[in-house]
Amino acid sequence: MNRAALKDPAWVRWSLTALALTFLLAFLALPLAAVLTEALRKGVGAYAASLGGEDTLAAIRLTLIVAAIAVPLNLIFGLCASWAIAKFDFAGKAWLVSLIDLPFSVSPVISGLIYVLLFGAQGLFGEALRDHGVRIVFAVPGIVLATIFVTFPFVARELIPLMEQQGRDEEEAALTLGAGGLRTFLSVTLPNVKWGLLYGVLLCNARAMGEFGAVSVVSGHIRGLTNTMPLHVEILYNEYDFVGAFAVASLLAVLALVTLGAKSALEWWHRDELAAAARH
């Protein structure tokens, strides 16, 4: 399609492009490069050593455990919420959708604070928990809760517009052919949303592993016990162990890049089956 009237003169195109790319270089590309450079500043040996430290390994393990709990739970929630919202009409639907968007407008620190207020020593349930010897805040359960809070919208936000876009016809058709609810969901709905689901899970996972503010408030920063990778980065950095800090950071950066890559791949190959492509 040759829309000659819409072509800007070459010098305009090149200067605008250059300006845009310079901005992106300064704000996006360089920070990424900096992580790698700083991590390798003392050579590959030092890099590998800092990743092998006991506390670092514990942090990696905790991050993986938290993600392994939070992501599947959010997945189930996302599927339930999007089924209820996309396939039915009911009063208060708009409120429900807004509620799901809530974590995006709450500061991560506050996301952690609310659990401290609920389960902390001086919190609403503080006494009761102490009497039963249950520790939520400053322990792993608190970290899981705070992570769930911050990441639960991702799967739902991906599936809701996708399922709404796909409508109810196919599900109704399955019903007329004699299929029950679960069979319809498994055979008809799920295959139709599988790429959107994967996309949502990827984003949810990336955020779950990388969450800092919320987890920082609930964790108590106990090395080897309640430190996730992002928190460990902060500890190492504050101790001036820059190589260590950037080494752990580089792992997280790689996770981010893998997420971005998978996300892009999904978008290019499955444009039609991702609401994100339309809404994004």
């Binding site: 016809d169 196919e170 058709a173 007329t176 069979r183 295959p191």
Partner: protein, 345 residues
């Protein structure tokens, strides 16, 4: 035999069905015809169990099916936009209803495959068994949807504007083909359409609906020749609508006098079909404002003495023989005029 009795359905403040009762005899192909908002699709969906009425009942083969769930009704439904399962092949789509059966009701794999093959041949899609919906044309998709609905051996087939989304030529071919299929299978079928030509061509019986009510039920010929209400008259075919005044059982319409037995004195409405108006050169009562050649027919836009606009359709030979020109005064004879009282309109 399908019976619906006193069905009422409201969506918020909008009444989609208003006390509708209907009986569909076995083996017939029935059309629900009407403009959008007439309630025809709502009625169809209630028959399928895809919507619940606010009041009234549905009886299928003598049993009260009002509370029976969709999946248990054994009704085949063909959706307007096909609703094919986009991630399944044609074969998997057609076999779906058989695959979801549980226990003894579920045929063996080989039997399912055989039935699917037979059905695909029946809808003339034998060679496309492995294709996916996105690889098919609209007409092909519609036939897959039909095969899928037939696979479960339903006792009733329901089609929601089955050809609405297709090109004119494809629509014509599929219409003919659906009628043939129905004649072969003898399955009670109800289809929804807003296209009067489609209803008149395909159906054994036409149910004309408007604003949630049934206006008339009858054979295609019957409802065309003897429309029961002004709505039916105007919805089927072209119609001139003129003012009439009735006195003593006689209606005066322009210069025409028509017997109007049983219609009370007072103002009324007269309908005349354009092709039931003959034009001649004697006793002029109207002038030709404009004429248009439409294939085998010439449409004349006429004006009566009092300025009323009337449309007539005459064949080309007559037009040529009379050598009609715009501005020419002509006489009109109406072969048939239908009168309705004012309050019926």
């Amino acid at each position: 035999m399908i019976h619906v009795e006193h069905l009422t359905k409201r969506f918020g403040a909008f009444t989609a069905l208003d006390d509708v009762s209907l009986a569909v005899p076995d083996g017939r192909l029935v059309a629900l015809l009407g403009p959008s908002g007439s309630g025809k699709t709502t009625l169809l969906r209630i028959l399928a169990g895809l919507d619940h009425p606010d009041a009234g009942s549905v009886h299928l083969d003598g049993l009260d099916a009002t509370a029976v769930k969709t999946r248990d009704r054994r009704v085949g439904f063909v959706f307007q936009h096909y609703a094919l399962f986009r991630h399944m092949s044609v074969t998997e789509n057609v076999a779906f209803g058989l695959n979801v059966r549980k226990g003894p009701g579920k045929p063996a794999k080989a039997e399912i495959a055989r039935r699917v093959g037979t059905l695909l041949d029946l809808v003339q899609l034998g060679g496309l068994a492995g294709r996916y919906p996105s690889q098919l044309s609209g007409g092909q998709r519609q036939r897959v949807a039909l095969a899928r609905a037939l696979a479960v051996e339903p006792r009733l087939l329901l089609l929601d504007e089955p050809f609405g989304a297709l090109d004119a030529q494809v629509r014509k071919d599929l219409r003919r083909w659906l009628r043939q299929l129905h004649d072969e299978m003898g399955l009670t079928s109800v289809f929804v359409t807003h296209d009067q030509e489609e209803a008149l061509e395909l159906a054994d019986e036409v149910v004309v609906m408007s604003k949630g009510r049934i206006e008339q039920i009858g054979s295609p010929a019957e409802i065309y020749d003897n429309p029961a209400t002004p709505f039916v008259f105007q919805f089927l075919g072209n119609a001139n609508r003129l003012e009439a005044s009735i006195a003593g059982g006689v209606a005066r319409v322009g210069h025409w006098r028509v017997a109007a037995p049983g219609i009370p004195d007072g103002p009324g409405v007269a309908f005349i079909r354009p092709h039931e108006i003959d034009v001649d050169l004697a006793d002029p009562v109207a002038a030709i404002r404009h004429q248009v050649v439409l294939g085998p027919v010439v449409r004349l836009d006429l004006a009566l003495a009092d300025g009323t606009a009337v449309e007539a359709a005459i064949d080309r030979e007559t037009h040529a023989r009379l050598a009609l020109r715009p501005g020419q005064p002509v006489g009109l004879t109406a072969r048939r005029i239908r009168i309705f009282a004012e309050n019926e309109v």
